[in-house]
């Protein structure tokens, strides 16, 4: 492997979350001692090439961990068949499962983002403030902007960590609504309640 590919391997192996191409590019040229004074675009192209090299090296290889594309970035993860014995030996804990209320709220935020609390409340039929707060705290959603209108409500959207816990590359991997058995109405044109 090239020095840059090895550096990327080290960084990805050390990180406990996915690293994006952008982030990996900041490691790049100067750190690996290649080139000088290049522009960002060049560094990114080099990083992209090194990443491809690293992926190639890992694709064929026979390992207990694998390089996975996730949440807009890359991350080393253990192969599926090993999680169970590792957990049984109590070397690591799997993440806590989300409650149905949390998943409901996440689903609404994911599909309607940016979305305010009132809309979430209305769709779920229950007050969702506490659940939203908890999801913000866990870093799965965040306040992305403020709406118009009375009180300029906070609007929520999903974070990269949301994709991370679902193992998705991006939001476009979520099922399309028309693939579901029941169709969701289009966003309502401000109905009077």
């Amino acid at each position: 492997m090239s020095p840059l590919a090895k550096l990327l391997e080290a960084a990805l192996f050390a990180a406990s979350r996915p690293l994006t191409l952008e982030e990996l590019a900041t490691l790049g040229p100067e750190a690996a001692g290649e080139g000088e004074g290049e522009e960002g675009g060049e560094a990114e192209a080099e990083t992209r090439a090194a990443l491809a090299e690293l992926r190639g090296a890992w694709a064929g290889e026979d390992h207990g961990v694998e390089l996975v594309e996730i949440a807009g970035g890359w991350q080393f993860l253990t192969r599926r068949e090993y999680a169970e014995p590792i957990e049984r030996a109590q070397f690591a804990l799997r993440p806590r499962r989300l409650s149905p209320a949390a998943l409901e709220t996440l689903a609404i935020v994911a599909y309607r983002q940016p979305v305010g609390r009132l809309e979430v409340d209305e769709i779920r039929g229950v007050d969702s403030e506490a659940v939203l707060d908890k999801l913000v705290e866990r870093g799965l959603i965040e306040i992305v902007s403020r709406g118009e209108g009375l009180g300029r409500p906070l609007l929520y959207g999903t974070t990269p960590q949301f994709l991370e816990i679902l193992g998705l590359k991006g939001l476009d991997q979520l099922p399309r609504l028309d693939e579901l058995s029941v169709a969701l109405r289009p966003p309502a044109p401000a109905e009077p309640e």
Partner: protein, 248 residues
């Protein structure tokens, strides 16, 4: 009707919590459950029947204290009443009072379907573990700043207490002149390896002088240009030039 019985005590004052503890995540979830159980047509809801069942279940589960469920119960009863009203034959204006509820139920049903999908995705992701242990790097340089900001601000207050009374109550009229203080300290750093607080602010400092000096000292200490030390509590602060890789 076989409603699942609650396994947890109900906490009436935290309705959001109640819902989580129970099998239902809200009144819509409960309604869907009833509809599914009786295999009812969601688009042609027998409201009278559903309303009765809904009331019975929330009574049984003690959910009749949760506002969200009560609101839904009231809504169902209202729709039931509206349906009982006679309407004129061929009234094109008539709108089915159930339509809003049906729309919400369909929408909610879709959300539940998404929940199922998300749950599966999360479960599948949990079959793979990420990096667990990140050993502390031995390469990390020691933090240059040894004084807490709060400590320093407290010290600043003590210093301010020494300033003549009338000055205390004057509003600081402009942003502090931190730049000036920084320049002064930097000049002192060039000239002397070690100096004291009064060298920076002079004998009769104003509030502005004191705060400016402290902020720039903080900033310079943070950048590693100098080191602040206090030999004893309440003793004068000693400012020392920080030379890189100094063998103390």
């Amino acid at each position: 009707m076989t409603a699942p019985s609650p396994t947890n005590p109900v906490l009436p004052e935290q309705s959001g919590f109640v819902v989580e503890l129970e099998q239902f995540s809200g009144p819509l979830d409960l309604l869907l459950h009833l509809i599914r159980e009786d295999e009812l047509d969601i688009t042609d809801l027998p409201i009278a029947k559903i309303a009765d069942q809904f009331l019975a279940v929330i009574n049984e589960l003690g959910l009749n204290q949760a506002a969200d469920y009560l609101e839904m119960a009231a809504r169902l009863l209202r729709i039931k009443a509206q349906l009982l009203l006679p309407r004129r034959l061929g009234d094109d204006e008539w709108e089915d009072p159930r339509s809003e509820l049906v729309r919400r139920l369909l929408e909610y049903q879709q959300i539940r379907e998404l929940v199922g999908w998300l749950q599966q995705a999360a479960t599948r992701r949990a079959e793979q573990l990420g990096r667990g242990y990140a050993p502390p790097s031995p390469e990390l340089p020691p933090a240059p700043l040894e004084i807490e900001l709060n400590d320093l601000l407290a010290a600043a207050e003590r210093v301010i207490a020494l300033i003549p009374e009338p000055m205390l109550h004057r509003v600081v009229p402009r942003p502090l002149d931190v730049e000036g203080a920084t320049a002064r300290i930097q000049a002192l750093l060039v000239a002397q390896e070690e100096f004291g607080w009064s060298d920076v602010v002079g004998a009769r400092p104003s509030v502005v002088d004191v705060l400016s000096a402290f902020i720039s000292l903080l900033e310079l200490a943070k950048r590693g240009a100098l080191r602040l030390a206090q030999p004893a509590p309440f003793a004068p602060v000693v400012i020392r030039r920080e030379s890189p890789r100094e063998a103390a």
